[in-house]
Subunit: 429 residues, 2 copies
Amino acid sequence: MHLGVFVLGTGNHIAGWRMPGAYDSFQSLPVIQHIARIAERGLFDLLFLGDGLQAGPNDHPSFTARFEPITMLAALAATTTHLGLGATMSTSYAEPFNVARFYASLDHLSSGRAAWNAVTSSNPRSAPNFGRHHPPHDARYRVAEEFVDVVMGLWDCWDDGAIVAERDTGRYIDASKMRALDHVGEFFNVKGPLNIGRCPQGRPIILQAGSSEPGLELAARTADVVFSVVQDIEEARLAYRSLKDRMPRFGRRPEEIAVLPGVMPILGRTRQEARDVLDQLQSFVNATNAASLLSSRLGVDVSGFALDDLVPDLPLPDTSHGFARAMLSKARREGMTWRDMHNLTGAARGHWVIAGTVEDIADTLQEWFETGAADGFNILPAWFPGAFDGFVDEVVPELQRRGLFRTQYTGTTLRGHLGLEMPRNRFFD
Amino acid sequence: MHLGVFVLGTGNHIAGWRMPGAYDSFQSLPVIQHIARIAERGLFDLLFLGDGLQAGPNDHPSFTARFEPITMLAALAATTTHLGLGATMSTSYAEPFNVARFYASLDHLSSGRAAWNAVTSSNPRSAPNFGRHHPPHDARYRVAEEFVDVVMGLWDCWDDGAIVAERDTGRYIDASKMRALDHVGEFFNVKGPLNIGRCPQGRPIILQAGSSEPGLELAARTADVVFSVVQDIEEARLAYRSLKDRMPRFGRRPEEIAVLPGVMPILGRTRQEARDVLDQLQSFVNATNAASLLSSRLGVDVSGFALDDLVPDLPLPDTSHGFARAMLSKARREGMTWRDMHNLTGAARGHWVIAGTVEDIADTLQEWFETGAADGFNILPAWFPGAFDGFVDEVVPELQRRGLFRTQYTGTTLRGHLGLEMPRNRFFD
């Protein structure tokens, strides 16, 4: 089983920072260093940070005032030794040459622990920060397809061993081991090569989170890890199969992608205590913040709907399909009201929440893992450090006792933790 | 006197890596961490890294395979405590919103030690990596003027104290202390606000290195530190005055910019030993590499010129004015041949080289500092760690004995080291 932790300084729950002892800032190096230390103590595969390119006073606190992800991960590279370091960088508002460099540099700084979450920017509020109009969903994915190819191509412009640094002769580079990319495409023309040598991992790990048809195709072709948004084991199994079944068409084996659903575990010594913790968290939710996030998830302004009305069938938005599909499907299945939807969004931003004892949570994760719903999980602690300490100190040992999770790191690279082979270099292998 | 160190893993001399004991990689975290430790031992104001967006096998080794600067600085933020951390990020091939975020994030990670070198990309070989045509010199500066304004405006979108994080009420942001930028300009439309709060330094320090007319105007208006390229004290004094005299027009006092000429000190126990070290370094220069760098500096292909011919008067190139002006002026003054020019470029890439004893070097720096040619220096060690160790362990104590340089850090921010006040916030002060 593979485990990631989704980091937000104020906690993943929209009001997690209001819990006693919780961190309340996402602009503090000691905070993220502490979270990373807990993750390494828990032998996690990776620490992950999403991203957004806009801020408003009613957003999730960690979306409003936050570290820029690649700088945050680079800082953690210097003070961690085993933990994979992954983050989002948009394919909509960045240049492939720059993205390839950032993550190659992080891979060198961390000696092989970098991972890039290649996503299209789903929030239309980003566009005005770049003087653009927000492109529609499928157009964003056409750009993303080419963007990812260019980035992966740039990473292949250097062969291993290109830097010879022969002091006697003065030859520094073996020029036969670096080459241009010469990409000419629909959206990008990029000559290359990159100005940083072959990565310790061959190339950084590719993360993706798309659940739409083009998102699944892109993931099946290029991803190493997929974060999924699911609320139900049956749906999770279908999504898992749908992704893995596509892989042979791209010459890949199903085990070359680890599917990690996002889950917020709420732990208690009894089920009642866990429910009480969740109730306490939910009592902290500020209706304005939750409505703002829910409107963004569903692509409609929800502030006008009556809280006690049932959630109707809504079309998938042009922003992001994953959250909307999982949440609307849960609403249909469970007859949820708008009030329930606000609570669901406030809790884990649309991700799955499980509240229970250590055994309950271990049982659930084990069932998902052993019945084709997941290869592991992206853990979303409701607040830091308490909720994460609890998972690492209580649930991880239980998973280890059951033989489901590693009891020590056996390698030092993220690729190694994931059990993935070194990738083939398209030009030199 | 203020001191910076220009970091390149293989040394600033093009063949510095061939010296005994020299580091030969610019892709190694331990290498840059060691250099940063030496800089903090020497009580330097800042560590600085230039940048380029292209690579070829005949370039300077540290330009061919190098860390991306902002990730490198973020890694150093986590393992240093006082050192200012500055780097170049291009105004030609990046978005203002992203640049503002990267450096604000670095300022938070380092608790107030970030500095952004705002430069236009001078090397035309960068353009094909971004599917663009290289814009001409003055057009690049028109973009840069607006780019810097947008970045500085984004940094001002948050007031101090905007994050209130009141646990009792659930209010996280004081919405009256964040606002949009709503910039609509010739090259950029950027709404804002930034999604990271007011910086520890108010805003990161602005570095610049332009020496052309538009470059000096931009620096006089916006820079906190200017790196200059000079080969002669008279020229340095003229350039210093030319910059400082422009500042009152922008409502600024001359002491609000620190002018730091780049200089490569070559140290020996005797003058002869220093000359021998320089000769040894020069004997390592690979003619192809030096010719490639010189062609880039002068904007003409120099490979066809006979090495023993005198350097003729050449027009300033459309790439970068600073290096070409300083080098051509030196060539005229000293009757240099193309061979001399190759050596000058190979040594310090066009920067000023002084070879001598501790006293010689201290005398020279003191004269420049006390006679209106410099407020300090950007030191370019020919190789690492040896040449930098030598400067820190021998020249710095001599400067301290003369009362020219600090004997301890008195603050923890780069702004504090530079003796600069907190900047006014255009929206909230």
